[in-house]
Subunit: 218 residues, 2 copies
């Protein structure tokens, strides 16, 4: 298909597609004349993933490029590609320079990982972005004096574990390894607001159950 | 205590405290001379909450003001204040104008809430921000063609339910109702990166378990 049809079928304006092509987020089409290229279903799929990352997940262009590069890295096997791609997703704010609460947070997170038996993460010589995001969040809780001991964090880790199983079940519905990788990245990002909003709605339900017959916020 | 001591004990620069005072995020101190005011522990507590919302949670000043106003609204009972304050926390992107996927998302979310028996949420005449955030996220998944049927969402709702219990357990450790409300708002925001990072770490663990002996991202 030509650019105009790619735009129509993907719902992405041609100017935006050209921008993604220039930035290397979408691979070039097959050149058919000096000014025209031909695109296929792989381009449609890629545009869908780029929209999920950039428009919905607000992933910066440079980070999206890293994620997409990992998906195409032939030197890695399936599992390594998945880890690298999801690992390249941007994480929260950078750690503050408060060494005391940062060191305390590292000890807490290490104790949590040991208790969970998450050996893969413990064996890594370098912290993944998600690991750093966790340490930063725990350091902030520590600094502000909110509860964040290992036993406070454990229920959130158990929830994370159950969710990871659901996540991988969704991903394994896709047959080809390439589609699985794309789905892993897209669903990681797109299910985050699902999870956070369901937690808030459940809090309102639970708070209603515990504290009152009168309806909250009505 | 004077402003300088409030700054020292809270770790917030005096210029920032003055800004929060002007914006109404922190109540004024007790005026002792024409140029000096006296602050107390309630101001320290409030600064801690404002830091959690504004600096860590990146909540816009105007939304933070709404959240804090709900905490102090004497016309509401404890449970209503909690619901209103957490409900005033900003939510994700506004819904796009795609009516078809939005209507489909509403049907899916309503079916999910009915299946869960979350009556409090179903009985509300107006959607809360969290409810809108969920509909928007499901509409996006629908529009991009990713799985988001009721049975796909159910595991995330179950996780949200379990987390709400842990959240409320943490909050009930605080004795005074005012401190409980502050903790509810702060912990809702501060535990979001904890949850999202633990989900990503658990994904790496689960992916390692399912797909490979070789380590991801190494």
């Amino acid at each position: 298909m030509r650019l105009a049809e790619l735009s129509r079928r993907s719902g992405v304006p041609t100017a935006t597609i050209k921008y993604y092509l220039r930035e290397g987020l979408v691979p070039p089409g097959r050149r058919v004349t000096a000014t025209q290229s031909e695109y296929d279903d792989a381009h449609l799929e890629r545009l869908r993933l780029v929209r999920a990352l950039v428009q919905v997940g607000r992933v910066p262009i440079a980070s999206a490029r890293d994620v997409l590069a990992a998906l195409e890295d032939d030197s890695l096997d399936h599992n390594a590609r998945l880890g690298t791609a999801v690992g390249a997703l941007p994480h929260g704010p950078e750690p503050a320079e408060d060494d005391a609460s940062d060191a305390q947070a590292h000890r807490t997170v290490n104790a949590l990982l040991a208790q969970l038996g998450w050996e893969h993460t413990q064996r890594r010589t370098e912290e993944s972005p998600a690991h750093r995001m966790l340490v930063t969040a725990v350091a902030t809780l520590t600094r502000l004096g909110y509860p964040c001991a290992v036993e406070d964090l454990a229920p959130y880790a158990r929830a994370g574990s159950q969710l990871a199983e659901s996540d991988l079940d969704l991903i394994e519905r896709y047959e080809s390894p390439d589609r699985q990788l794309e789905a892993a990245v897209a669903l990681t990002v797109l299910y985050e607001p699902v999870l956070l909003s369901l937690r808030r709605i459940a809090q309102a339900e639970e708070s209603h159950r515990r504290f009152g017959a009168q309806d909250a916020g009505e």
